[in-house]
Amino acid sequence: MAKSGIYQSSLTKKYVIALAGLFLISFLFVHLGINLTVLIPESQDTEAKEIFNKAARFMMLNPVIKVFEIVLFAGFIIHIIYGLILQIHNWMSRPKRYKVEGWSHTSPFSKFMIHTGMIIFIFLIIHLVDFYFKAKFFEGAESVWYDGEEYHDLGALIIQKFQNLGFVIFYIASFLFLGFHLHHAFQSAFQSLGLNHPKYFPFLKALSLITSIIIPVGFTIIPVFIYFQIV
C-alpha cells in the first residue's frame, strides 16, 4: 500500500476503519476480562488482586502479546487517522451549511462519532499515561510477593487511583461516551463491509446494542466497586 490514505477510494477507507474498529472492539473484551479479575476477592489459594497482578505480568511480558500490542497500537492509529481523514473530507463536501439543519429520523449516535471519538481519544491519552506506561515501566507500583516471586502490585495502583471521586467520574463519563460510540460502531462496521443481510442484520444490531452496554458497564463497575469498597 504505497498510496497514502487520502488518495484511496472512499469505500476502501471505510473498510479499513471498519476492520480496525472491529479489531479494537475485540481488544476491549480482552481488556475488560483482565480488568474484572481485580475484583476477585481473596480465596484459599490466592490473595486479593493476585490473579490480576499475574495476568497483568503475563500481558506485559508474553512475546505473542507483545507483538499484538504493536498491532493494537497500529489499529488505534489507523482507526483515528482514517476517521479524521473521512471526517475532514465530509466537512469539505458541504462548504455552505443549511440554515435549518436536518432532523431526519436516524440514529443520533451516528451523527456524533467524531465527537465521541475525540472524547475517547483524550481518555485514551490520559489512560495510557496513568496506567499503561506505569505498568509498562513498573513505576509507581509497590512490590508484592507470591510464592516467593516478586510481582508489581498494579492492583494496588488501580485501587489507589480510584479513591479519587473526580477521577472515578471522569472514568465513568468516558465509558459512557465509548458506549455511544460503540452503539453505532459495531453494526455500522458490518454495513461498511457490505455484510448487511435482512436475515442476520437485526441480530448484529442487537449484538451492537449489547456490546455498547456490556463494555461501559463492565469497565465502570470496577471504579464504582472500588470507590464504594464493595469488594
Binding site: S10, V100, W103, S104, N196
Partner: protein, 253 residues
C-alpha cells in the same frame, strides 16, 4: 392560510446569496407547495420583482426534478414523496417556512433554489449502463431471473436521481444514489457482465466529484422519496470489495 417564507435568493452561481423574507396570505390548504410558490412568483412579478427560481417538471412525483430543502428536510415534511406532492395542509396557519437549495459541494447553486445536479449524470456516464448490441428482440424468457432479484433490482431502479439523499446526508454523500444505480444492474445477469468495472468507475467518479463519505446514518434512506434501502449501499460495498480483490485490474478513473 398565511405563511412567512424565508427563501434563499442567489442571483447566479457567482453571487453570494442571502435569505429573503416574504409574507403570503389566503393560500388554500389544498394548494400544493409548488403552486404556493407559483402564487408567490405571480405576486412578485406583479410587483416588478424577480420571481423565485426553483426546479420542477412533471409535478406528479415521478421525474425527480423538484428539489427543495424545506424546514430542514429534503422534499418537505412528508416521507416518501417529492416536493411537488407536498400540500400546504401539512403546515400550520402562520408557520414560518425556510426554503433552501440542496447544499453539497458538487451541487452548485445556479440561481435561487436551483442547483446543478449534473454530477449525477457524470456518475452515470462513468459506468451506469450496460453495453449491448442492438438487434432483434430477444425472447423474454431466454434468461431466467429469480423474482426476488428482479424485485430488488426494480426497487433500486426506482431511483429518480433527485439528489435528496445527498441533500439529507450530513456528509453530502451520494452513496445511496450510486448504490441504487450499481445495484439495479448488479442484480441482473445482463448487468453482471460489466459489474466489476462499473462499480469501480462509478465510485471513483463519485469521489472525484467531491461527494462525502458514508457514516451509515441512513438519513438518505429516511428522506428518499422512493424509499430506496441502504441495503443497496451494503451491496455496493460488497461489489466494490469483490471488484478490488477479485478484479484483474484496478480502475481508478
Amino acid at each position: 392560510m398565511n405563511f412567512t417564507l424565508k427563501i434563499w435568493r442567489q442571483k447566479d452561481a457567482k453571487s453570494k446569496g442571502k435569505f429573503e423574507k416574504y409574507s403570503i396570505s389566503d393560500i388554500s390548504p389544498d394548494c400544493s407547495f409548488l403552486e404556493m410558490l407559483d402564487i408567490l412568483n405571480e405576486q412578485l412579478v406583479a410587483r416588478g420583482e424577480e420571481p423565485v427560481a426553483f426546479d420542477h417538471d412533471c409535478r406528479e412525483g415521478i421525474c425527480g426534478t423538484c428539489s427543495l430543502y424545506i424546514n430542514g428536510r429534503p422534499h418537505g415534511p412528508d416521507d416518501a414523496i417529492t416536493t411537488c406532492q407536498v400540500h400546504m395542509r401539512r403546515f400550520k396557519d402562520g408557520d414560518t417556512i425556510v426554503i433552501e437549495p440542496w447544499r453539497a459541494k458538487p451541487f452548485s447553486v445556479i440561481k435561487d433554489l436551483i442547483v446543478n445536479r449534473n454530477a449525477f449524470d457524470k456518475i452515470i456516464q462513468a459506468g451506469g449502463f450496460i453495453s449491448v448490441d442492438t438487434g432483434g428482440i430477444p425472447d423474454a424468457n431466454a434468461i431466467p431471473i429469480r423474482k426476488e432479484k428482479a424485485d430488488q433490482s426494480m426497487d433500486a431502479a426506482s431511483c429518480i436521481g433527485c439528489g435528496a439523499c445527498v441533500a439529507a446526508c450530513k456528509n453530502a454523500s451520494a452513496m445511496l444514489f450510486v448504490a441504487a444505480k450499481v445495484s439495479q444492474f448488479a442484480l441482473l445477469p445482463q448487468g453482471r457482465i460489466e459489474a466489476k468495472e462499473r462499480v469501480q468507475k462509478m465510485v471513483a467518479k463519485m469521489d472525484e466529484l467531491g461527494f462525502g463519505n458514508c457514516t451509515n446514518t441512513y438519513a438518505c434512506e429516511a428522506e428518499c422519496p422512493k424509499e430506496i434501502s441502504v441495503e443497496h449501499i451494503a451491496r455496493m460495498n460488497r461489489e466494490f470489495f469483490g471488484a478490488k480483490v477479485g478484479g484483474r485490474k484496478n480502475i481508478k478513473k
